[in-house]
Subunit: 212 residues, 2 copies
DNA sequence: ATTTACACTACACCAATGTGTAGTTTTCTA
DNA sequence: TAGAAAACTACACATTGGTGTAGTGTAAAT
């Protein structure tokens, strides 16, 4: 049995989903809420395998809600169902623990399919969302070749991210302290920054720093 | 007409895909390669809408290959088809510009479906890959409450990422320089670091820093 | 009412950083 | 093989950064 909770302020959408899902033999909608505030204090959340969550809610937003709910029930599959498709909504939701992201125009069949996918360990997303997510991973293809860091610069940048001093880095890569300084100068130049903190920040944004 | 290139060192897989795809009326496989080296110098790559790419290739790996190929043809949809499912392969590929990631066990029908999805602006992925990708977005739910940064600390951490000095930050948030120092001390303590660079690094890893 | 914790200000001090300038060696290229 | 670019080494110096220590006011907890 797949237990489900729904949080959606629009009555029509809420009841429509509820009936659609309850008509599945192995699905049961435990409870429906019109706000996160109501849901948070309910026992149903703790017993839910799946939580369907709208973003545009009065009071606590769906994004904040996802964060709280995923704290209450770590095992729940949170699926956002929303009309928002802006980056902030999408990535905010995903950061907050959502395991799926669907547009409100989904058909009942698609919704059911999505829930089955989620409990099997998948992540239901519309193709457009999936594309946005993937794109967010792409390395910025350095348009100017001269702004591309060399291999040595990349390794040094990684040491910077670890907070190592000139001396420590010098020892690690068998260079003089000033040799290290030399490379860091060009890193700064290429990234257009003037400090370690900035360099690390840009390095992450440009996906130069390895993300183990 | 959807033009396709294939790069795969295994002859059987290569020819199997080729025939399967060519049997589709609106698909045409321009050329098949057994290595990235061969593909890079070919004209077919520039004319391809879709490039199917293996990771475990001799010589230039599929990951490095994806990076080069996406530089040659920005408009091509690069889809990895591979047996590797480790994080390094997956995220390396995605960083290098892949738009999809499939397991080698895909059926011809699924492959065709995936290609159609890709050219429509979607991102074909197996559910397990999608889940991994989504999980990589999740905020680390700070296990210890006392390690959670306050609102003010978060804003200051963001200033640190921008490389601002104590003085600049102090001016921005109407505090004394030592007041700023006070907060930075607790940031360091909570993140267990001893410098700006490290703090920024951890802030990114823990997804505390806003990623606009 | 007293304690405790927190947010802040303040001062001091040394190590580390960022940058200018300059000389040397290695590597690539024409 | 000459000449240029890149990779280093070296020195100097003002600024900033990290940290120890200490004191003040305010709000919450006991």
């Amino acid at each position: 049995m797949v237990t489900i909770s729904i949080i959606e302020d629009n009555v029509f959408a809420r009841t429509a989903w509820e009936t659609a899902l309850n008509s599945e033999e192995d699905f049961v909608v435990l409870e429906s809420f019109s706000s996160c505030e109501d849901a948070i204090v309910s026992e149903s959340i703790k017993k839910s395998d799946v939580i369907l969550l709208d973003i545009g809610l009065p009071g606590i937003s769906g994004i904040k809600g996802a964060e709280i709910l995923s704290g209450i029930n770590q095992n729940a599959q949170i699926i956002m169902i929303t009309i928002q498709d802006d980056d902030k909504s999408i990535f905010g939701s995903l950061q907050s623990g959502a395991m799926g992201y669907l547009h409100k125009s989904v058909s009942p069949e698609e919704l059911i399919e999505a829930i089955r996918l989620a409990i099997k360990g998948g992540s239901p997303m519309t193709p457009q969302i999936a594309r946005k997510v993937l794109k967010s991973f792409h390395k910025f293809n350095p348009s100017h070749d001269h702004d591309k860091l060399t291999e040595k610069e990349v390794t040094i940048l990684n040491y910077l991210a670890e907070g190592k001093s000139y001396k420590k880095i010098a020892d690690e890569i068998f260079l003089s302290v000033d040799g290290v300084k030399y490379h860091i100068r060009s890193i700064y130049e290429k990234l257009h920054v003037h400090s370690r903190a900035e360099a690390v920040n840009k390095g992450q944004k440009l996906r130069i720093l390895s993300k183990l």
